[in-house]
Symmetry: C2
Subunit: 191 residues, 2 copies
C-alpha cells in the first residue's frame, strides 16, 4: 500500500517548500494529502498563491498518516505554532512513531515553540535555533533523529523531499532515477 | 516600477516549476501574475494541486508583461500548445521583444510545436528536441538567446528563476543575497 503523507498548510505557508515536497513525493508514488489548518480549504501562501487544500484539519484529525510535513513561511509557521489542533495532530503522530518533518522555520517555531522537539537533533533556518532549548541544533541541510526529519530551508527542499521519500519507501533506485530524471544533480540516496 | 511577469497555467502544469518561479521572482520584488489558460480561474496541476489563478487569459490578453513564463508538465504543455489564445499571447510578447521563458517540455512543445522558436538556441527536457526543427538545441541548464530564456527542467527551476530575475532587474547583489539566504548553493549571478 502507498505511504500517506499529510502536509499542513496555514495562511502564509512557504509555497515552493510545500509544492516541491508534494511534487517529489507524488513522483515516487507516495500519496500526499494537503490539509488546511484554518476553517476553510482555501489557503493563501507567503507570496499570494491561492491553493485549495484537499481537506480541513478537522476532517482528518483522527487519521494517522505515515508522515506529517510542516512547510516554513514566516507567518505560516507562526500560524501553525499557535493552533492547538495542529500541535495535537503532531503530538499524536509523534507518539505513534510516525515521521515528523519540519522545513525552514517550522522546527524552531512549531516544534520548539511547543516543546515538541524533546531533546532531538534538528536543523532550521537562520538564527531561530537560538530561541529553542528543547532540541539540539545541527548545522546541516537535512537532519534525521529518531522519527524527526528536518530541513534547513527552501534551497534544500528537493534534498529534504528526496530524503523523506527514501525513508518512507526505501526505493533507492527509483529515487535516484527520479532525481536524475528531473536534472537535480546535487542529491542522491546516501550509500 | 516593478517588472511584471505573467506565468501561464494550463491544466496539468508542473506545479513545482511554476511555484519556484513565482516564489523566487516575488522575493526579488518582481510582480508575478498567474494566468489561467482555460475558461475558469481554477487550475489543477500535474500532481493534483488546485490553484486559483489571479486572472483568466482573456482578461489580460491585451496587456504586455515584461516576461511570459511557460512551466512544463506533460499535459500542461500539450494544453498550452493547443490553445490559440496562448500562442497569440506569446507571439505578441515576442514581437514586442519581451522575455519568453519556457521551462522543461514547454520550449519544444509550446514554442517549437507552433514554430515560435524562429532559429534561436534553447534547451528543453528529454528527447523532445528531436521533434523540433525551428530552433537549435543546446545541452545546458539555462540558455539565453535574444529574448528567449529556456530552462531544462524541474531540478534547475531555481537556476532558471534566479537567472530570469537577474535579466529582469540586473540586481546582482540582491539576487546573490537571496540565493544564499534560502541556502541554494549551486547558483550565483554569472561574473
Amino acid at each position: 500500500m502507498s505511504k500517506r503523507v499529510a502536509i499542513l498548510l496555514a495562511e502564509g505557508f512557504e509555497e515552493a517548500e510545500a509544492v516541491i515536497v508534494i511534487d517529489i513525493l507524488q513522483r515516487l508514488e507516495v500519496d500526499v494529502v494537503t490539509v488546511a489548518c484554518r476553517p476553510m480549504r482555501q489557503v493563501a501562501s507567503y507570496h499570494g498563491l491561492n491553493v485549495t487544500a484537499d481537506h480541513l484539519l478537522a476532517e482528518v484529525h483522527t487519521t494517522l498518516f505515515d508522515a506529517v510535513v510542516l512547510p516554513g513561511g514566516p507567518q505560516g509557521t507562526v500560524n501553525l505554532a499557535a493552533n492547538p489542533q495542529v500541535t495535537d495532530f503532531i503530538r499524536q503522530h509523534d507518539q505513534a512513531g510516525k515521521w515528523i518533518c519540519p522545513l525552514c522555520s517550522a522546527a524552531a517555531r512549531v516544534l520548539g515553540g511547543n516543546r515538541l522537539l524533546r531533546g532531538r537533533r534538528y536543523v532550521c533556518s537562520g538564527d531561530l535555533h537560538q530561541t529553542v532549548d528543547d532540541g539540539v541544533y545541527v548545522d546541516a541541510h537535512v537532519v534525521e533523529d529518531g522519527n524527526l526529519i528536518s530541513g534547513r530551508g527552501l534551497g534544500v527542499a528537493f534534498d529534504f523531499a528526496f530524503y523523506l521519500a527514501w525513508r518512507l519507501t526505501g526505493k533507492k533506485e527509483a529515487i535516484n532515477f527520479q532525481a536524475e530524471h528531473i536534472y537535480y544533480d546535487s542529491w542522491r540516496v546516501p550509500e
